[in-house]
């Protein structure tokens, strides 16, 4: 398996895994997978797991919808302000596949949001402690697990939440 940041490792991220205990934010030692979302292209939240999230202000559907909306807009915005390419559509105009750059994380003083979007529109979001390093490989690994255990499961109907 692999480890999140430094220190202890999260042994499994497949459904039914025992939630790994997360250190409280601010201790700064890593090992902090706090929240994980998986969305499909239609904005359906396929999976939601939290390991450390003391404050909840919204109901889960609102929360997931806002998260999806944030990433959707942010992707379009990051492509729009990209200074390296000349071809960009207007802000708000939907991007064609393959168009524009894509972002993979953003950080605030209290958390870091790691993001992976596959060309097929699967979005993986992992919220960690702000001092964790690059999680792109981790997210790729999770995507591989999704393929092995969800996509290849003949009983799974595409587009439904993962049980």
């Amino acid at each position: 398996m692999f480890s999140f940041g430094g220190g202890s490792s999260l042994t499994s991220v497949v459904p039914d895994a025992t939630p790994a205990p997360a250190a409280p934010p601010g201790t700064g030692t890593g090992a902090n997978a706090q929240v994980l979302y998986v969305f499909n292209r239609g904005g359906v939240c396929l999976l939601y797991r939290e390991w450390h999230r003391p404050l909840r202000t919204l109901d889960p559907t609102q929360d997931q919808k806002l998260m999806f909306g944030l990433l959707f807009s942010l992707r379009s915005f990051t492509a729009k302000i990209d200074p390296t390419t000349a071809e960009k559509g207007n802000l708000g105009v939907p991007l064609l596949p393959g168009q524009g750059c894509s972002f993979y994380s953003f950080k605030t003083n209290t958390y870091k949001l790691n993001f992976l979007e596959s060309p097929s529109g699967i979005k993986l979001i992992l919220i960690t402690h702000p001092r964790t390093g690059d999680q792109r490989d981790t997210l790729k690994h999770i995507y591989n697990l999704y393929v092995e255990y969800v996509v290849k499961n003949p009983l799974y109907a595409p587009g439904t939440p993962i049980k």
Partner: protein, 187 residues
């Protein structure tokens, strides 16, 4: 930030996936087609059913392909076609296809397969001359491309089972669907 590892080569990819015995695969596929012919009776219906099966396979298979091949977004349809021919076919069938006959707009092309593991030991009897034996492949391509926002039409042009010299599949890109915000404003 250094770039992550780039796309794998076709051979590396083929080596990294689970494989089954080629003859077992060929015979299983043959058995499926045979069973469909018995159940549905009409050759046209079988063609449709194979295409639908392929489509359902394609919609799932694309994720496995993307996860294992490290391919990121393709810039245009030409690149997509190359990736399918060199990596996609290699990964799942162990053969590579050649991409030819581009039209002027770059929206349709042909995949030519010299070697097709699906058709070993197969002969079409006179009663099934209309059968598109490999229709599952065209369905897979259509399904997989739809998942990456490309609507395509796939037709067979040449078929060795009908005496042609190779297998040729014509893929026509009809529409690229932009990503749309899935929720309505008021809900």
């Amino acid at each position: 930030m250094p770039p992550l590892t780039g796309p794998k080569s076709g051979d590396a990819l083929f080596g990294s996936v689970e494989r089954v015995n080629a003859e077992l695969f060929t015979l299983t596929y043959g058995a499926i087609v045979r069973q469909l012919l018995t159940d549905l009776e009409e050759v046209e219906e079988v063609n449709k059913q194979l295409d639908q099966m392929g489509y359902n396979i394609g919609t799932r298979l694309v994720d496995e392909f993307l996860a294992k091949s490290n391919v990121s977004r393709c810039v245009d349809f030409k690149e997509t076609a190359d990736v399918i021919a060199k990596l996609g076919f290699k990964m799942f069938l162990g053969v590579t296809a050649t991409v030819t006959n581009w039209d002027a707009e770059g929206t349709s092309c042909s995949f030519v397969l010299e070697d097709n593991p699906l058709v070993d030991f197969v002969e079409l009897p006179d009663t099934c001359q209309g059968l598109q034996y490999c229709n599952v492949l065209s369905g897979v391509i259509r399904g997989a491309l739809e998942m990456v926002s490309m609507k395509t039409e796939v037709t067979w042009v040449r078929d060795m089972l009908r005496g042609d010299d190779a297998y040729e599949m014509r893929v026509k890109l009809t529409k690229q669907v932009p990503e749309e915000y899935p929720y309505k404003d008021d809900d």
